[in-house]
Symmetry: C2
Subunit: 345 residues, 2 copies
């Protein structure tokens, strides 16, 4: 059963996490309520943060104020806190209190733009993993040339055996059904070649496990050279490789954006001859791949819905992260994972 307050889905918000918090969080909640609530769904917030900073915002964004309960927290996790430090010493933090709300059944999910490592460590400690899940994974939906795809693990686990990669594939498959709205997602393992003999023991072991399982549309290996072609819905890798892939793609995209701006958009030719028209066209192309406009990542395999919004989220991207959490809850993501894993193993 979903925890509800007057038949609303309750989301716990860490108001203090992220570069532009708490403004981005409260503005984001407001944007969500105004623009992103699906028919038939009602959302209520538990907002955790520093009273002095948050109260004025709740007074200003009245719809959030009247659709939420505010809980003061005397501390918050800092962006540079080590996960182990945050776990041990940020006991009165807004992040920890928001996660505990999920544990206690006061909320169905939590959204934070705070420190990723700390959010994973504290979530894992407080919520634990779903039944039979060895390790939680960080997943995100990313743009490709033609459609979105799902990539996991993005950094929760540096070394993974075949069983863990196999479970990431199962969880990613469920996640893709909800996040991408695809019925039978195409799932592939990231490898450095497409022949069966390539790769680490873990990757080859996961290949064997996936090849022999029913109910997964397993497509074998994918190379990084193909990752933006839009042929695959779910790409599975260990957290070291997935993290490097994501950051490499983001860095390459950002570099192109800055080179374009510097060399082309700011040239006198662009200014004089083209004006706003070509600029806007170019900007639209670039924006699709700009990491800043994406709405963050989700922690899969935890006994609770935890959505990590980008650290530099603005209100709109934070609103989309809330939307993400609400969808995962209303579509029973974790129940689907539990049932998939218990059916297969």
């Amino acid at each position: 059963m979903l925890p509800t307050v007057n038949n609303n889905i309750v989301i716990a918000l860490d108001a203090m996490g992220g570069d532009f918090a708490p403004l981005s969080v409260i503005q984001g909640a407001s944007f969500f309520l105004d623009n992103l609530v699906d028919p038939g769904i009602k959302v209520f917030f538990h907002i955790y943060g520093d009273q002095k900073e948050v109260s004025p915002l709740l007074a200003k964004y009245k719809k959030v104020g009247s659709n939420s309960e505010f809980i003061h927290c005397s501390d918050n996790v800092l962006a540079n806190d080590k996960p182990s430090f945050a776990l041990r010493h940020r006991k009165d933090s807004s992040m920890k209190a928001a996660i505990e709300a999920v544990k206690k059944g006061k909320a169905s999910g939590v959204v934070s733009s705070g420190n990723t490592g700390a959010l994973m460590a504290i979530s894992r400690f407080i919520l634990g993993t779903l039944p039979n899940i060895y390790r939680p994974a960080i997943v995100s939906a990313l743009p490709s040339k033609t459609k979105s795809f799902v990539l996991l693990d993005l950094g929760a686990n540096v070394d993974c055996n075949a069983d863990s990669l196999f479970q990431f594939a199962l969880m990613g498959n469920i996640f893709a059904k909800i996040a991408l709205k695809v019925d039978n997602p195409e799932v592939a393992l990231l490898n450095i070649g497409t022949e069966e003999i390539k790769g680490t023991d873990s990757v080859r072991g996961a290949f064997e496990l996936l090849r022999n399982v029913q109910g997964i549309n397993f497509k074998g290996y994918i190379e990084a050279s193909e990752f933006l072609e839009g042929n695959i819905d779910v790409i599975v890798a260990d957290g070291f490789v997935g993290n490097v892939m994501l950051k490499t793609a983001e860095a390459t995209a950002s570099t192109f954006i800055s080179l374009m701006k510097q060399e082309v958009l700011n040239s006198w030719m662009a200014k004089i001859l083209v004006g706003v028209l070509l600029k806007s066209k170019l900007k639209r192309v670039l924006a699709r791949f700009n990491p800043k406009v994406r709405n963050g990542a989700m922690f899969l395999g935890l006994n609770g819905i935890v959505v990590k919004s980008h650290g530099n989220s603005d209100a709109i991207s934070f609103a989309h992260a809330i939307k993400f959490a609400v969808n995962a809850i209303s579509e029973n993501l974790n129940q689907m994972i539990i049932s998939e894993v218990s059916n297969i193993e």
Copy 2:
């Protein structure tokens, strides 16, 4: 001593490897002789390939014809051959014969655009590794925002222990001195965070080894998000991670290039208002990051100079791969590696 014929450096060319072979190889040799030979250096080729295909080209490109010896080979390694198959069954191939020329002292180095895995497997089998080197690595010089950097391993070794990563750092350091012409290259290990506790056991082990060694300008960890910033000269990773990083960057760059062409360069506005001027500016920006214009990779740690030109090399990029091999030979790359490793270990 370098093998010489009339005081020339001798390079063995696999004329049959690559998408545009043998034309790209012979044209490339011609371009090299005309444009890329440093003063005081003379280069002579041993060219291995199919007589029917290569002889007419040698007749056409006369300078190559008169600066080379041609050796007919009845077979060649195909692009899709598995390395193990090529090693066992391509005994009369141009690739194998070219590598054997180095083993026999007839040539000082080999350049091939052929199948990377086969080139590594056959080179390793025939040439072996340098004294005290555990594993050879694939290295390439890549563009960043401000300057070039060196990345290794690009895929020769999927699992690496700390000792192997440490040796990659030593070899990459030497390679960077020659390829980038930097006196004291800044070396970093690729990791998914910059704190000391992050990463796999291998990466953390290599960190400890590098931190405690003299003569390496070790800068600690680098994250993939920083790889194009131009802060580091040598980035060290295992072959799985390095391969994913390279291919992810290339795929992202290519995707941007095609999106730009499609959305901006082909728009009526660009055509009518801007014409060739802005197009050429945009193309110049894009070209710097186009993998097709790079001149390939080198295998480090083998007992012989082996340069792998891109499979889709044209004449000019093949010519630069030859230049790369000549530099490595004339600057005693392998002697420097031997001396570095023996000094340290």
